[in-house]
């Protein structure tokens, strides 16, 4: 037990450091789970409305990729699960991963862990403290969500299954992060691997659930959901004959992963990863001589990963397009739901609009992360030596901005190319579909750049508040997915730049929105550069 000495102290330290962030996260997750229940109860108050939902959104295989299978969606409980759970799961899983990495890897990287370890702390205390803090927070989220859902009038057993299901997903991914934190040295890489595991299993679940809703993969495909922790949440069947033993499965897997993490941690030194860092070249290539070359070098790995994600997502979602008409059959409500999401006249086009919109949003998120690299370089003290060399502020900032813009173009091209090729191949018209999809993907450029432009402006004006750019991305995602279903106010919809885009493929192109979105992007970007040139370097 001496290996756990100091766990309590470290846990308290973590609580103190994140005394604002942790409660905000817990409350946000609870309100994402329980918040929509009230308005959904109003919207789907009658059995008829609920049946309409089941036949509409509920039997839409495309929606299932994101929102999960349709289990018991002819009752309010099932509708609440389908509409709200995926958001909670995304938030809880991703945050659990990032927090565990933060409390273990980032601490080691900053050298703080050495100080703490030297002060009589057991070898596994840091890991134990991280899992304790995150695990308890996950549990609070689960119980809070259950209480909130019960408060909204839903059944006790179902609400408890929903809440504990969320907790279990959080625990499993916390344990995944505990393992990856032992494997590699850099916090960024450890986070990346754990998030990739999450993304891959999430996608797997998406494919499986889409098959289950389309009712074609009676045997094989739909069972893939069992390979995914987020799939287990739905297999727990909240509000639809709960299968409690699924919780046990998650606990066993989480415990096994934790065991692996502990075993790995015995075999490595503090600060080192189990996969040893490779040596690099003793000299730089001749090209590594400008801020732009540096920005590209720092960002290219991330861009390749994002492009791979967009390509896989585009291939999976795009390949469903050709069958969408068959899948939906003559189910008018399902067709209406797809039309609402996409907004084009032809069903297939409407679906494709939605697919490209999701990929465009991914490009927007990438651009924000690429621009905010400026901020992490600055606060990580790595901008200082560059700016102390013969490099002006503008040139420095522009280099990362250029990488971001080029990256968005690459991602949109990838999206258009992959969807065009896959859908073209399935429908036997590559020559026709490819240019259509490329155009439809690229027309999103100004909208996909707007959050990044906001990030650039914040970087110049309010470097402490760059998080707001991420909130904007989150809001756009919520609006894109929930807006049409909840029939949100038009002014809320208008917050998202994507709302103003022409509905391509299929719709009419109007230049005006593209022009003013582009102008807004340029304006915000220029404001960011101009203010960065005038302000103090902020190394705090």
């Amino acid at each position: 037990m001496s290996e756990l000495v100091g766990t309590w102290r470290l846990a308290r330290l973590a609580l103190r450091r994140d005394r604002i962030g942790l409660p905000v996260w817990v409350l946000l997750a609870i309100s994402l789970a329980a918040g929509p229940a009230g308005s959904l109860a109003d919207a789907y108050a009658t059995a008829e409305k609920q049946r309409e939902y089941a036949e509409g959104v509920g039997s839409n295989p495309a929606a299932a990729v994101f929102s999960g299978p349709s289990i018991g969606v002819d009752h309010l409980g099932g509708i609440v699960v389908k509409e709200s759970a995926v958001w909670v799961l995304l938030l809880v899983a991703i945050t659990s991963i990032m927090l565990v990495t933060r409390y273990t890897r980032s601490e080691e990287e900053s050298g703080r862990a050495e100080l703490v370890t030297a002060a009589a702390v057991g070898r596994h205390a840091r890991l134990a403290a991280a899992l304790l803090v995150v695990g308890v927070a996950d549990l609070l989220i689960g119980l809070g969500a259950a209480a909130g859902l019960m408060g909204a009038g839903l059944s006790g057993a179902g609400s408890l299954a929903y809440g504990l299901g969320v907790t279990m997903v959080g625990w499993v991914f916390a344990a995944v992060a505990a393992v990856t934190a032992q494997l590699v040295e850099a916090a960024r890489t450890a986070n990346g691997i754990a998030l990739a595991v999450f993304g891959a299993t999430f996608l797997l679940r998406g494919i499986a659930d889409s098959a289950s809703v389309a009712n074609d993969g009676t045997g094989g495909t739909r069972q893939l959901a069992w390979l995914s922790p987020t799939g287990w949440f739905y297999q727990l069947r909240p509000y639809a004959g709960e299968r409690w033993w699924v919780l046990g499965l998650a606990v066993v897997v989480g415990a096994a992963l934790t065991g692996v993490a502990v075993a790995l941690s015995r075999r490595r030194d503090i600060g080192a990863g189990l996969l040893a860092a490779r040596l690099g070249p003793p000299d730089a290539k001749p090209g590594l001589a400008t801020p732009l070359a540096l920005a590209w070098r720092l960002q290219r790995g991330g861009l390749i990963a994002w492009a791979a994600g967009v390509a896989v997502g585009g291939a999976v979602l795009g390949s469903l397009a050709h069958d969408i008409t068959d899948m939906v059959g003559d189910n008018a409500t399902a067709a209406k739901a797809i039309r609402q999401l996409g907004g084009a006249d032809v069903l297939v086009d409407s679906y494709l609009v939605w697919v490209l919109r999701i990929l465009g949003l991914a490009a927007a998120a990438y651009a924000v992360s690429a621009v905010l690299r400026l901020r992490s370089e600055e606060s990580g003290l790595r901008a200082e030596p560059v700016l102390a060399a013969a490099v002006t502020r503008t040139r420095y900032a522009l280099s990362h901005v250029l990488v971001a813009v080029a990256g968005v173009v690459v991602l949109l091209l990838t999206a258009g190319l992959v969807v065009g090729l896959v859908h073209g191949a399935r429908s036997g018209d590559v020559g026709g579909e490819l240019p259509r999809m490329l155009g439809a993907a690229l027309v999103q450029l100004p909208a996909a750049l707007l959050p990044a432009a906001l990030a650039a402006a914040l970087f110049g004006l309010l470097p402490g508040a760059t998080l707001v750019a991420w909130l904007f991305v989150g809001a756009i995602l919520l609006i894109a997915q929930l807006g049409p279903v909840l029939e949100l106010n038009q002014w809320v919809m208008d917050v998202s730049p994507f709302t103003h885009l022409p509905r391509l493929p299929g719709g009419d192109v109007t230049a005006m929105p593209l022009v003013w979105l582009g102008a807004l992007v340029l304006l915000l970007g220029a404001a960011g550069l101009a203010t960065f040139r005038r302000r103090d370097l902020d190394t705090a």
């Binding site: 040295e185 850099a186 690099g280 001589a289 720092l298 790995g301 060399a389 002006t392 370097l537």
Partner: protein, 305 residues
């Protein structure tokens, strides 16, 4: 002689904290200038203003022959900077970082780089995140000394180096000094400054409190005297220019300002001094006097440390 840079009346505030409170500092071309001061005195802040990373709230700065806020590209080609807290890109190797930083300021000499890597015993193939604090500092030092520049701005460059490597650093500074280049060396290590610097400025709470050559500064320091007297030491402690007077029976010990020394010696003679030990002035004593920013600010308590 011209100035490599000159700052006048620099003021810098961070919110309510006044980091710099009217700094006057000039460094002459070709000299090694020591910049000393306790933690939080404002050394790094002054340097960041010189580099155009921070903007002064008041005062004027002239760096080489330009304005550090406006002539960035032209001026920064001619200087090399080693930050106090060196942070490297985790995925770039040390060698890549050295080349990059050198090229960003206008090129570096590969032969000189190889020689410095050897002297500092630095493996350039390790990735940035794999270096210890001292080795990170060496990366920045090699990148600086391998560049052909007129001015080196070094912020506590040896704080992570072991004694052997500090010695290599000292040699490097002596070499660039011989070549007529200018060095500003922020430091806490008196020995290093005594060994390397032509002139020294001491900063405390955002103000320059002393500046001058080492011998000028020595002149400001006090001689410590211990004596056994034949007659009671009445009145000796009241003499101007004496400090920390302690009397123990017939023994007396005190510190004396240089100007007061003749008078004190005369009075000791009058009191029938039997034994006399005097310690020459050290910079250390001066140094500690200025570092003592605690509650006992008055010079009277200095010797108590």
């Amino acid at each position: 002689m011209s100035d490599a840079f000159q700052a006048q009346g620099l003021v810098k505030r961070f919110g309510k904290t006044v980091a710099l409170d009217g700094i006057d500092l000039s460094v002459r071309t070709g000299e090694v200038h020591g910049f000393l001061g306790p933690n939080g005195a404002g050394k790094t802040t002054t340097i960041r203003i010189l580099l155009g990373l921070l903007r002064a709230d008041a005062g004027t700065v002239r760096l080489l022959d330009g304005d550090p806020w406006r002539d960035i590209t032209r001026l920064h080609k001619r200087l090399a900077y080693v930050p106090g807290d060196v942070s490297l890109w985790p995925r770039l190797s040390g060698g890549e970082t050295i080349d990059l930083l050198g090229r960003l300021r206008g090129g570096l000499d590969p032969a000189r780089k190889a020689e410095l890597l050897d002297r500092f015993q630095l493996d350039p193939r390790k990735k940035g995140r794999a270096y210890s604090k001292g080795n990170r500092q060496k990366v920045a030092l090699v990148a600086a000394f391998a560049s052909d520049v007129e001015l080196f701005i070094l912020d506590e460059p040896t704080s992570g180096l072991d004694p052997l490597m500090s010695e290599v650093f000292n040699q490097c500074v002596s070499e660039v000094r011989r070549e007529g280049r200018t060095v500003l060396l922020a430091s806490h290590i008196l020995g290093e400054v005594e060994k390397l610097c032509d002139r020294v400025s001491i900063i405390r709470s955002g103000r320059i409190v002393e500046t001058g050559s080492l011998s000028e500064l020595r002149h400001l320091t006090r001689t410590t005297i211990q004596a056994r007297l034949g007659r009671p030491a009445a009145g000796l402690g009241e003499l101007p220019g004496t400090h920390n007077v302690t009397v123990d029976g017939d023994r007396i010990s005190l510190q004396v300002d240089p100007d007061a020394l003749p008078e004190v010696l005369r009075r000791l003679g009058e009191h029938d001094a039997r034994e006399l030990v005097s310690q020459p002035p050290t910079l250390e004593e001066l140094f500690l006097r200025h570092y003592d920013v605690g509650p006992h600010r008055s010079g009277e308590k200095v010797g108590a440390r």
